[in-house]
Subunit: 134 residues, 4 copies
């Protein structure tokens, strides 16, 4: 598994000349999408089968500001996996320095009701479990 | 003090037909700006004096999805105020139902170095303290 | 018909300390949504009936920059209405000064195919025609 | 010169499940930044010297919708260069099909006043002229 890379865009910087803090929440989503591609189970596959995976919580600690053209490397690991929820932990670095650590929690819904990942997508569940062994 | 109101825009909704979770972080900023106007000390005044107030942490718990045209009411209160940091707690409701609770922490920087709010902006410090009495 | 009002948000401003130019395209959408509410035919009604109205063209001329907290007033009128397309013209002002003029064109699609507005939504077509008389 | 590549993000898609039209204006900016890097004169160099280059006009024609994970290739060329303005033309393709054509015009400002590119940044002016020969 390799970290996801995001180069900060001009329009992502604010008046203070730093990456607006709300954008990190989007970078986290980009990293998740990439991570699911890496474990061989694209984000869109779940949606095509009628299951959506809304975010139930996010948390972000900003340690150093980043700015235009910075290359942010985002490492992601599953911190917790239960029947109904998955929690990711993120570490974002620029030139090796940690600029942000973050966390997000997600559930799985089908027709508006909670779905057990292990039952509904056993293949995905197993693939996630496997990443946690390392 | 009255809650801040945000009507969800079409472009703030995602494929799942709900407000994209990253946007709540922006609504929190809108609510802070409005709150500072209400306590009589506009956000831009600090910046004009050369002090910026970056976000050091955000946390957001999503309880119910919102969507296009929903009127989100955001109540905000200072949960903690120290020399160097301020922490806000947010409650967001739609038609009286809590859809999201959140928190953000901010520091104050002048020329890149931490500034004690009480010393640098005693008037603002006092105004914030006053909101905490209630 | 009254103009739509948008107050520029902190996160809408860029490094140059002005409203990022891409956001005006979003303000135009906000103004259209409001305009349809004013003519009594909400944007979401069409979508609920399975018709979407994608943008086929936008054009924006930026005359003066705007910034954080500016109140932009957006007037909108239908410049052209045909069976398959509608074209809006926008004038955006801040304190009476024109800061931006713009244009957008839209078609109507049902199940991916063009729909004649006059046939599919005669009530909406008539309401739009009526605004053009003035 | 190679085209700029943008992969459509989940958060860039709207309720209609297509890339929100406002985002193309941002992709154009990304392509310009990349183009200036390719001609050897980074976007940030101008800003470091106190010259900003605001957008004075954009125009976008949407031919086909794009969606999540689409790889958009953006080719860019200078259509017109004068003392005070530069105009870019863009062609965006997905798997070889043109999805969007666009145009943007920019001026150059120093301390709020127009600057002649040829005089102020002769090296950049020459580099741009050179791209027009081909």
């Amino acid at each position: 598994m390799h970290p996801y890379q995001h180069v900060v865009k001009y329009y992502e910087c604010d008046k203070m000349n730093i990456t607006h803090h709300s954008n990190y929440i989007r970078f986290m989503e980009e990293a998740r999408v990439d991570w699911m591609d890496q474990i061989g189970y694209g984000f869109e596959r779940m949606e095509q089968e009628g299951v959506v995976s809304p975010v139930t919580e996010v948390q972000c600690t900003y340690k150093y500001p980043t700015t235009f053209k910075d290359l942010i490397e985002i490492s992601l690991r599953v911190e917790h996996l239960s029947m109904l929820k998955v929690r990711f932990a993120y570490t974002m670095t620029v030139r090796g320095k940690v600029v942000c650590t973050a966390m997000s929690t997600h559930c799985f819904l089908e027709n508006g009701r909670p779905v057990a990942l292990q039952t509904r997508f056993p293949e995905l569940y197993a693939a996630i479990m496997k990443t946690m062994d390392n």
